[in-house]
Amino acid sequence: TPSNPSATNTAAPAIQPTSGTSVVRLAYFPNFTHATGLVAVANGTVQKAIGSNTKLDVKSFNAGPALIEALLAGEIDIGYVGPSPAINGYVKSKGSALRIIAGASSGGALFVVKPSANIKSAKDLAGKKIATPQKGGTQDIALRKYVSQNGLKTADEGGTVTVLPTANPDILTLFKQNQLDGAWVPEPWATRLLQEAGGEVFIDERAIWPDGKFSTTLIVVSTKFLKQSPDLVKAVVKAHVQTDKFVRENAAEAKSIANKEIERITSAALPNVVLDAAFRNVDFSYDPYASTVLVGADDAFKLGFLGDTQPNLDNLFDFSVLNEVLKEQGLPLVKAVVSK
């Protein structure tokens, strides 16, 4: 009965702290797109990988910017975070503060509409009110790009599609009150809109990316930590890759472990119906889908969300550790992508 990944893994060698570093400060969200991280910590995989001499200090955050803020302030070494906060942190520190070293999940964003709004094709969006969770956020950019690709304009640009950035919980309320025609939101909100507010799927975002894969959660590491303690970084990545496998192979169990962790941290678990449905819309992978990260950054910049000058993302990714681990495990390597 292989239940515990730490029991199944192949004798992870304990790492002796090299240069005085005896603590790894890891951060994630109590959110199931971060399930790999949640499970890796809950099962003790990470602790085992870094060895008993090294302390694992885990902090949970509510949102990407706060996590990145803590990382920039030197309070976090490794974090699970979405692509756009990661890019922001990289750009703000002029490429000095962090590196993306692996992926964690993909997918998990849906464009949900009200049946009564009669949105059958892109043209039907004209005159409609569509919500996104945050101006300049991943879904916001996706929506704006989708609108302009289909020959429409947003109200901001003088067009007919009203894009209404507002917080996820408020989107649900407004949806229930029929004040919105649609919303492009991440999980589990998409599922809640479907289940609780009678929405229907207009677009699963996976459908508009090549291979249906696009980066949702990444692992970032502070450059300082990467330089000082590459062994510890490697240990964590190793634990991550192991757990990634476990999550994909034992979906049901991973789901329940992740949900217990979410409950432990936030005091509220997701209802099983929501969890099950939402889980189906997310894919877990150690692959960061680097090219989609860059496309997202490019879109953001074109829409005016990343400053006045095209950011230089040359050193955003550092997959050397990941590939080292993958090689050891005999898994396919990920390709480093160079930004255009």
């Binding site: 509510n62 706060a66 803590a70 302030a73 408020d170």
Partner: protein, 278 residues
């Protein structure tokens, strides 16, 4: 005869005790019970009326259920405990800094012209402005949370103390200096006591804003606390949980008001002779 006199003394003694140690008059209590009962019943009925869906506007019973299930799991008790400790620590720090600072600003024109002008503007800054600085200066720990709480309540206290002192009738200061009071004692023995009725209002404001800031500060990172329970409730769009936390905050507010501020207010009314004239 002697016994009678003694009895009378005893009776008077008891009367003295009841007036001072039973601070809420029965009348007041009665009024409160009636008021809050009516409020709750009306609210419960309304929540079922269907004007607003009850998952968005739950009634007291739904809120109580949410509260009860949280209590059973120990969430609210532990979360309240954690938050209360932070609140009290932050509030006390604010007091320790705010009272002298307010006194300085009120009595020293250099401070008034410089710091004084800043205070009202700094007070206007939302807690979220202090979060990044808190992490930077203190790291991800309790001190950062306390810092944000202090930033939220400090300026209210400073402003209250300043206004209290500015409104001190100068005759008291004159009388005291004339009786030989100087330096620090002028503050501790005269200016602050004389300004106390107004300062108290500032302290009440500070208390309220310590709460507000605490709720933001606890979002720095997840720990079981009222701030996180509130945020979770909001993140899940769980109106009953949001309102359950609100209830806890309101309950603690009422209790502290009753235990901390109301006795002082009664004392002031007694000493100064303030009383709502008929």
């Amino acid at each position: 005869m002697a016994t009678l006199a003694k009895n009378n003394l005893l009776l008077r003694g008891l009367k003295g005790i009841t007036t001072t140690s039973n601070p809420i008059k029965r009348e007041t209590l009665y009024r409160r019970v009636v008021f809050f009962s009516l409020l709750f019943v009306g609210w419960e009925l309304f929540s079922h009326s269907g004007v607003w869906p009850d998952y968005l506007f739950p009634g007291p019973i739904a809120i109580a259920q949410s509260l009860w299930s949280g209590l059973k799991k120990g969430l609210y008790i532990y979360g309240t405990w954690v938050s209360m400790l932070r609140l009290i620590a932050g509030y006390v720090i604010s007091l320790l800094i705010g009272v002298p600072l307010g006194a300085l600003i009120a009595r020293n024109k250099y401070f008034k012209d410089t710091l004084g002008a800043l205070v009202i503007s700094l007070q206007a800054l939302p807690s979220v402005c202090w979060l990044p600085l808190a992490i930077l200066w203190f790291g991800l720990n309790e001190r950062a949370i306390l810092f944000v709480v202090v930033m939220g309540s400090l300026f209210s206290i400073v402003l209250g103390v300043e206004s209290g002192i500015n409104n001190t009738p100068p005759i008291y200061v004159k009388a005291a200096r004339n009786l030989g009071t100087t330096g620090l004692r002028l503050y501790t023995r005269v200016i602050l006591p004389s300004a106390f009725p107004i300062i108290l209002a500032g302290l009440k404001q500070g208390w309220a804003f310590a709460w507000r800031s605490l709720m933001s500060a606890e979002l720095l990172y997840f720990t079981l606390s009222l701030g996180n329970l509130l945020q979770t409730g909001r993140d899940l769009n769980d109106a009953a949980q949001v309102m359950a936390v609100m209830t806890v905050i309101i309950g603690i507010g009422l209790a502290f008001n009753q235990l901390l501020f109301a006795p002082f207010e009664r004392q002031i009314a007694n000493r100064w002779g303030f009383s709502p004239s008929k």
